[in-house]
Symmetry: C2
Subunit: 435 residues, 2 copies
């Protein structure tokens, strides 16, 4: 640092003032006189709450910080400790078969940090030694085979940005529950850069017999989670993933190996994958009979409702991120579809009477979170904010009333209806449900 930095701040400010010019150091030291608000209409506030002055040299400029080597693997700033996955105690009987929610209101960009990816376990997080882990492929294949992780990593690899969403995302709203926090209402979706081997590449080694129509995927956790997958999906965009966001897949996401079925119910992207069996009919496992089916008004259940249909959320404003006075804001959020690319997002601030198209941000990947935004100026009056996604199949995200007309109120899964945020006069935001 130059020697003059050791002169007390006040003296330097005085010296700068006498010189008739606000120099580099003098400017910072004198400060208050030139403080200005960032956005029009905020200058008055700035002079009263003094948040633009008086200036000072903060501690972090006066002392050396920690050097390299202290954190071979880094962590977020302690000032960000409120940005975490959250759980709801009363939601499940045990925490081993439960969920945690991504703080989606605070997520930036489209990639969910791996440490914040939502969780859904059926028997807790399996702690797997990758050297001892094996993937077995058997049944209606030409060659039954066992693969080590080294074998799998040796295949040509690919990386794709894709969301994973639990079909229970928003499920508590079916009967009218209104959980606070955007995190609880839409936080069972996350988006990662996944790396692995296209399943069809590996299946060239084993071959698949002509009569094979279905694949069973089984996890190595204590739930031995199993789902039946139609062969078309297995040979389309299914992947055997060992990587997530640049490194090994996280334990909560299935370390060391997860099946990825892009755009389909998250539970079908079987974690801790240990077995793929091929057959000519589905297995009707517990997770596709007593669970993950949709109870219809006539008492029958829809089974094999795999697709996560177009959905969206307004992350700002939201219960976690209220408005701070009248003026300019950029409204923003996510949209996604398990059937393709997001083509359009419309936004309403009057409960769905009028709609404005939002701007979609690049990149727009198929089956990935897509960022949208819309500038607006708030006059301080209450709002009913909604977003509505449309994907490139033409499908338009429904209202909860439209969904209930077909599905009744007995479902747990596949509630992709529009949410409504009630922005109050003070700027606070509440989750409400329109009739």
């Amino acid at each position: 640092m130059p020697a003059d930095d050791r002169v007390p701040a006040r003296s330097r400010a005085d010296a700068a003032a006498k010189a008739g010019r606000l120099g580099r150091r003098g400017f910072l030291a004198a400060g208050a006189g030139v403080a200005a608000a960032a956005l029009s209409g905020r200058a008055a506030q700035a002079t009263t709450d003094n948040k633009y002055g008086p200036p000072h040299i903060p501690d972090w400029t006066k002392t050396l910080g920690p050097g390299v080597g202290d954190k071979p693997y880094g962590a977020p700033s302690p000032h960000e400790k409120q940005i975490i996955r959250r759980t709801v105690d009363w939601l499940t009987a045990t925490k081993e078969s439960s969920v945690s929610f991504t703080p989606i209101a605070e997520q930036l960009g489209i990639i969910t940090p791996s440490g914040l990816h939502f969780e859904r376990h059926h028997a807790g997080i399996a702690d797997i030694d990758p050297k001892a882990h094996r993937l077995v492929v058997h049944g209606m294949v030409e060659r039954e085979m066992i693969f080590t992780m080294d074998d799998i990593r040796r295949f040509p690899s690919a990386s794709v940005v894709r969301f994973i969403e639990c079909p229970a995302n928003g499920g508590m709203e079916w009967r009218g529950a209104q959980l606070e926090r955007c995190q609880y209402v839409r936080g069972m979706v996350s988006c990662s850069e996944w790396t692995g081997v296209p399943l069809r590449t590996l299946l060239r080694e084993t071959g698949v017999k002509a009569g094979a129509k279905w694949m069973l995927a089984e996890g190595a956790d204590a739930a031995a989670m199993t789902r039946s997958v139609p062969i078309q999906k297995a040979l389309d965009d299914a992947m055997l993933c060992y990587g997530q966001n640049g490194e090994a897949i996280r334990p909560e996401q299935g370390y060391p190996l997860r099946l990825l079925l892009p755009g389909w119910e998250g539970n079908m992207s079987v974690k801790w994958l240990r077995r793929l069996e091929f057959g000519d009919q589905p297995w009707h496992t517990r997770e596709e009979t007593s669970k993950y089916t949709d109870l219809m008004p006539d008492g029958r259940s829809r089974q094999f409702t795999w697709f996560m249909e177009a959905n969206s959320v307004v992350t700002f404003p939201s219960p976690e991120r209220p408005l701070d006075g009248k003026g300019f804001y950029e409204m923003t959020g996510f949209a996604w579809s398990g059937l393709g690319r997001v083509r359009r997002v419309d936004v309403s601030i009057d409960g769905g009477r009028n709609w404005s198209p939002a701007r979609l941000h690049d990149p727009i990947y198929a089956k990935a979170l897509t960022r949208w935004s819309l500038p607006f100026r708030w006059n301080g009056e209450p709002l009913l904010v909604m977003s509505r996604a449309q994907d490139d199949t033409g499908y338009v995200q429904p209202s909860i009333a439209e969904l209930r007309k077909v599905r009744g109120v007995n479902s747990i899964y596949h509630n992709n209806s529009m949410l409504t945020w009630h922005v109050k006069a003070g700027g606070e935001v509440e989750n409400v449900q329109l009739k």
Copy 2:
């Protein structure tokens, strides 16, 4: 779990064998009889080292794992603890002014995990309270202004995937040092999804006077790191970033605010950004006079060598990731250019005599790490493996001999020459330098 899972594994295997059919459980329990290698040529090995058998039910399938809530912010598997940033003790006098290297050989996809992003600090990591942090914009602007972090986050935002590279990446090779580990030789480049405000958006609030030609950017760390930036770059793709890979920028990367100058020397993307001053000439700060200049053979120094020119690295095979016997492999690595998109990558396995074009993986972003790969079959003979990047300006990555012809051996920075990996007969990989 079904009740029959509680039958001892051996009994079930025997029962399955007697039934003349290898069923679901029986198959896993009996196992060895149907074990197979994943890739041709490895079956023989499998039967001798027994890595495909005998099978067993591992502990992680027999016990509940930890449930949700234990880790509100997750971490990699303990089995991945060797994938960390590394430092070199003798490289710098203090660890506060030093570097750590990204384990780039092990990176998957194109996004570097934030916890593994390389570091270069000049006075340690500033621990900044975002509520107290301010950005001052002054000098040749229409309106001198001070911004809080809330002010900055209120502007319309954008996200881009871009690399940041220290110009000293590979610098130790100028005089012929051959550090082992790909991590030390090319690990001062990382790639993130950065989120923030385009600087030109914020400058619409302050205005910039007609005569302003340069911008000074200053950090709030104890080094008060300062660099002069031409106004063209400030108004082109410069960004004020508060987000990295979906969350707040990490402390080591400038929390809560970093200037991003895509494609330019990493030190110019000033971390812990507190001040932007506009003027009509550069400031010739310490970091652009005694440091970050390039000493030429005639004793003069090149100054303001901002661009990070096209570069590439073979991450597999590499010193950290040797070959494991003859047979099929997918060679892979990264290429990048600070001047645009990677257009082509060529690979040689005979020290540069013959070249084959690699496949570039989507997405190919400008000024971002680009993944490439090339399948090959190894016959067990020694190789000299090299990669050569070309960007969409037509620029081709040079050899170290070509660079030295122009620049001599006195430089520290901007060595983007091709590396050579010597793959030995046993599969081990050594960093060598061709004459």
